[in-house]
Amino acid sequence: MDTFDKPDNTDIENSASEHSGPELTRRGLLMGTGALVVSFSTANAFAQTPAPAPAAPAAAPAKPPALPGSLDTDRYLDSWIRIDAQSKITVFTGKAELGQGIRTPLMQVAAEELYVDPKDIELITADTGRTPDEGFTAGSQSMQNSGTAIRNAAAQVRDLLIAQAATQWNLPADQLKVEKKRVIAPDGRSMGYGEVVVGQFLHVEAQPKSKLKTPDQFSVIGRDVQRVDIPGKVTGGVAYIQDLKMDGMVHARVVRPPSYSATLKNLDDTAIRKMPGVIEVVRDGNFLAVVTEKEYQAVKAMHALQLAAQWDEPAKLLDNANLSAELIGLETEVGTVAEAGTPAFPNGPTYEATFSRPYIMHGSIGPSCGIAVMKADGSLDVWSHTQGVFPDRDAIAQMLALPKPKVRVIHMEGSGCYGHNGADDAAADAALIATKVPGRPVRVQWMREQEHTWEPFGPGMVTKIKASVGADGMIDNWTYDLWSNSHGTRPGDAGSLLAGRHKSNPTPLKLPKININPNGNGDRNAIPLYAIPNQKILWHYVNQMPIRVSALRGLGAQPNVFSIESTMDELAMAAKTDPVEFRLKHMKDKRGYDVIKLAAEKFGWGKGTPARDHGVGFAFARYKNHAAYLAIAVELKVEPDTGRVRVIRCVSAIDSGQAVNPDGIRNQTEGGILQSLSWTLYEAVQFDKTRITSADWSSYPILRFASVPDTVEVHIIDRPGTPFLGTGEAAQGPTSAAIANAIRNATGKRITDLPLSRERVKTAIGA
């Protein structure tokens, strides 16, 4: 669903399968090898990777031709698609279902090219023992990477089936057709897919180019196919890792230190060992856990263990009341994100402001869960709702000093994750505990307060903008400075796991280095997509992480777009131009222009004046500046006495390229809008100098039904035949800014610190 892909993401930068187009072909030629030229110049036939990436270094001569999407790393067709003798089709993806509904569109693209019904396909998701390694399910890239690979593999498999049948029948391939899992000859003879596929038939390397169906031939892509996972989920099926049961399974609860750097001073666990059902009390350095026969026994033993353990707790956290100054004070280096012309403000800027976002939570509704079993041969099976089974496997193997092949990590869905939450940690907890009770599957369920206080939060950020508008009403100068940690401390290394840090012989967290690349991180969407001749964008990097942080839906995109789009409204006002008009005047990207136009039109922008205490606001961004385009208009009401904001309606327009499952796009976008609304109006992680104090839903309030808008509209601009652009994170930034702009419209006050809480609004309007 979210956030950037591999830690040092290379899949976009190195991918050769881009949009075709004159410059790209030229870039291909510059890159040297003939194969690459071919893949570039025919790219439109199969390309689904969108990035306008810088030219990769010249490829070594031995480099094999680039293949579409993740086929490039797992090059054999049977890594992706297998067909058995009964014509049962199994499709494999290294991506995971995270609540974003990815299973269905992946099945749709396979079904489309194989000329079958999506129901005929069994989809196996992320499993280190069975599926391709596709890194993390993140960055809204599943459709680009996996969808592209599967679609191309399916098309090639279909053509191989036809070619094979043609040879057997001694007929030209173009006279054969496929239907209902059979290859059919003009004379009516037919062969099931399963009869054609014998032995290693599909164990062949994929070709760079596939014969893909064209949009006018689609029967499955672009259709609102119902999600395959929903019937099970609404009838009590085993749908989540939390529901898994295994023979002999025992229940565990961890006892975490009361704060990040607390160390265990004293523990007498004699009484706990005697509690009903207790099998084991695990103590390994600062890592504590109980293992019991029944689940609630574990909860009770955990509470007893919490009371028994005594800790030393240093006060090492930031001053939350002074967060912006604290973050700025921690700056360690400065990186240039973008630079053009020479921004200068001889007459002072037209607008200047400092914006901030607090630390915010993933706050998955189901706390993390992990299951692991240490088998007799010393190998370990782990079930996890991680975003990356392979990196999680690597980290767990390192933590336990096991060779990687001894550890298998199997993805099983958890509740929606929105980034790097506690999933990997819970898997590591289960793995570590499993080594202490070999032979018995161990299920670790985190408690609500553990998820709240130990998940890695979305980093707090500060941004400063200065901008000016020239006599022609156009922005001429723009400087942008942002302060942020890295938003990526995902596994791969044992130090990324809480258990790895808490056990004896701990592995410390490796502090990530600043890494500026086209995907963006803290600097994601820090570059405005608008035409601005003079600009300079700097990332003031904060490498220390006093508060645990990692990837949360959109990374820096939400605070950056909030800052940029708030500023756009202020500049529009200074230029005495309607804010939508002002954006359109600066928008050179046709597709960006189109979504802005459509959202404004569907909203009825500029028609009539808002009612008393009502305000309207608009915002736009292209996610990562190379993925989905999204514009949104909102109408809200501000209660003047209390400062309470109620968003009444939201109207958005999105272009995610070729729409595979439009209803899935609508569903995810509605969700993104409402989640961002919640971040924007209510959310901030609270902590004192020692502990995280947002430990439950009352100390970390989120959106409730009473405050849900009356209507949320999502209008899709479908772009048949163009690359998939992903959807999941596009709404996070624009929604925040549109709300801030609507509050400004309603009250005349600009609030630049998130959340736009009741207290802040009340103070701003002086009520």
Binding site: G99, G236, I365, S415
Partner: protein
């Protein structure tokens, strides 16, 4: 101790400590895992079931309190093959993202519809006030409960129509 529970119209003997919350017994002893653990604190609604026709948070309902009362879970609303009207409505409106909160939403909705077959938007919002959804599926959840109310209305009208026909 052994306690008798009446769940989805069936009687079950369970052997558990009396302070065990109902949620753990449903999920682990009776294999009914629709109700979810979300907070264990009565704050999120993921564990909602119906007890004597009213929405109840099973994570804070001790087993002893549940004894002898009529408990309904999502499994009692229908099956994947034969979904009940609320389940049909959630499928029809595709009212889930991760879906983790959805069982609780359906039970709060079921309790509402039992007493108020034609709820207004405000009634629905009020009935779901303890239920949290982190995926932002709220619009579709409200739409599904509205749709369920229609489907239940049609279902209620059906036997009457049939008896009219046979009479005529």
């Amino acid at each position: 101790m052994t306690i008798t529970l009446n769940v989805n119209g069936k009687s079950h003997q369970v052997d558990a400590e009396a302070d065990t919350p109902l949620l753990y017994v449903l999920r682990n002893d009776l294999d009914l895992h629709a109700a979810k653990y979300g907070c264990g604190l009565g704050q999120c609604g993921a564990c909602t079931v119906m007890i004597d026709g009213k929405a109840a948070l099973s994570c804070v309902t001790p087993l002893l309190v549940a004894q002898g009362r009529e408990i309904t879970t999502v499994e009692g609303l229908g099956t994947a093959e034969n979904p009940g009207p609320i389940q049909k409505a959630f499928i029809e409106k595709q009212s889930a993202q991760c879906g983790y909160c959805i069982a609780g939403m359906m039970m709060s909705g079921a309790a509402l519809l039992k007493h108020n077959p034609k709820p207004s938007d405000d009634d629905i919002r009020a009935a779901l006030r303890t239920n949290l959804c982190r995926c932002g599926t709220h619009m579709r959840i409200m739409a599904a409960i509205k749709r369920a109310s229609e489907l239940m209305g049609q279902q209620a009208a059906l036997p009457a129509a049939e008896s009219n026909r046979s009479a005529g």
